[in-house]
Amino acid sequence: MNVGRPQLIARMALLGLMTVIVQVSAVSQVQVFGVNADLLPLVIAAAGLLAGSVPGAVLGFCTGLFLDLALVQTVGLSSLLYVTVGYWAGRLRELRDPQGAVLPIAVGAAATAVAIIGFSLMQFLLGVDAPVSVLLVREILATIALNALIAAPVHALVRRWLMPALPEDPRRRRRRAYTTGGLSPLSRA
């Protein structure tokens, strides 16, 4: 068990709690281009990307459950979707360890798409017997675009918040190795 684990759990719990409160109390009531931003998939995906698949999935489950309970929605629906988002983002980091400035934007847009389209599909499956309309598709696309715009700053904030508790950061580890006289992978070869 890592020494930083309790601190990571505490920071992630606070992150999930604050995200739901800010989303419900403020962000959901602000319209930009006719839609609302949705911080939850961005924050959960960013946490998964930084902390790994298991912390990402657990954060997704707990945040989704809290959202469903706080808004008197169908319990389990948001948890199911956000578990998928958090786990997927974490696996992306574990398998590929992708780098690049556009990564948070791409991951944020994909996470939003999974969450919104999944939520809409589940809504239809659970009783809204309706065809998908052009308006709905337009709103989904607009929300994904808006979330993609704010994904980078949200990722930076999540990173800043979780950084002290993260066991290791691949990029930081590599940078430290070069700057402190360690051999680069090329020179090793």
Binding site: S25, A70, V72, G76
Partner: protein
């Protein structure tokens, strides 16, 4: 070691997914008084003071973004509003004459004066939370059963009807908006008392309401206003939760007019995405029947 990590990761994922599905199944299987619903009410009660504080604290942030959005929207709305202003001015002039005539008739016929909504004992509440999903079907308000709120009570703003209370705890309540697919509102065309129907959300279009169940012979035209019909039945079992004559919206277009499938589309008067204060009508008058009905 690697196998152990993989097994643990898969086990955690499986556990979380299974928990979500079990919760989903249990929630659908239980009644409104079941365990999960009770937990929801408990959480609502605990979280609502925090949300109310956050809502107040974050108001400047909302206002700032609202101001930017309003400025962008305003330009496009000027033309439409000018046309509407001219139309309303003409209606207002006609309305003054009609009001005078109405007052004379009332005096002549010794009818009781209109009770209005103040008689329905409205309780003013602040919106402290809103559903973050695209379906925007619920809001949370800072008044609850301690203030006289009960499930099913209608909720209005200055513009008109917005929904009804779907869940209430002691200091907070959830309002399901008229844009929710479960909400059906008995309604009529204000300009023609004989045309009635049910206002519902159009399938797959959460911000477009429709007036369903109109007859082939009902002539509905764009621009007409839709108001609640109240209770039409003499039986109390079929009473409407909404008082009569509350404005709902304006007809924007009619699909397949003059047929059995005609479908008037209704644009709500209230902006359901930007609600700050609402009134909950806590008292039912005459079973929500229109005035003059026994």
């Amino acid at each position: 070691m690697y196998d152990k990590t993989v097994r643990r990761r898969r086990a955690v994922l499986g556990l979380l997914l299974a928990s979500s599905l079990i919760l989903l199944t249990l929630y659908f299987g239980e009644s409104a008084g079941g365990g999960l619903h009770s937990v929801q009410r408990g959480v609502l009660q605990v979280v609502s003071p925090i949300q109310e504080g956050a809502s107040r604290a974050l108001k400047p942030f909302r206002d700032l973004f609202g101001w930017v959005g309003d400025t962008l929207d305003a330009k496009g709305q000027v033309k439409n509003l000018r046309a509407e202003r001219d139309q309303l001015r003409a209606q207002a002039i006609a309305g003054v004459a009609a009001t005078r005539e109405n007052q004379k008739l009332k005096a002549l016929m010794r009818l009781e004066d209109s009770a209005g909504l103040t008689a329905a004992n409205p309780v003013r509440a602040r919106v402290i939370g809103q559903d973050p999903s695209l379906w925007f079907t619920q809001i949370e308000i800072n008044k609850g059963t301690d203030d006289g709120l009960r499930e099913g009570q209608p909720v209005v703003t200055g513009e008109g009807l917005i929904g009804r209370v779907s869940s209430a705890a002691s200091g907070t309540a959830i309002v399901t908006l008229i844009s929710d697919h479960t909400t059906n509102v008995g309604a009529r065309v204000n300009e023609s008392s004989g045309i009635t129907g049910v206002v519902q959300v159009e399938a797959g279009r959460p911000d477009d309401l429709v007036l369903s169940y109109t007859k082939r012979s009902d002539v509905v035209t764009p621009g007409q206003t839709i108001v609640t019909s109240g209770t039409m039945s003499r039986s109390d079992r079929l009473s409407s939760p909404f008082p009569p004559d509350i404005p709902i919206g304006r007809v924007t277009r009619v699909d397949e007019p003059g047929t059995d499938n005609q479908l008037p589309h209704v644009q709500p008067f209230a902006d359901l995405r930007r609600l700050e204060f609402v009134d909950v009508l806590t008292k039912q008058i005459n079973g929500n029947r229109p005035k003059g009905t026994p």
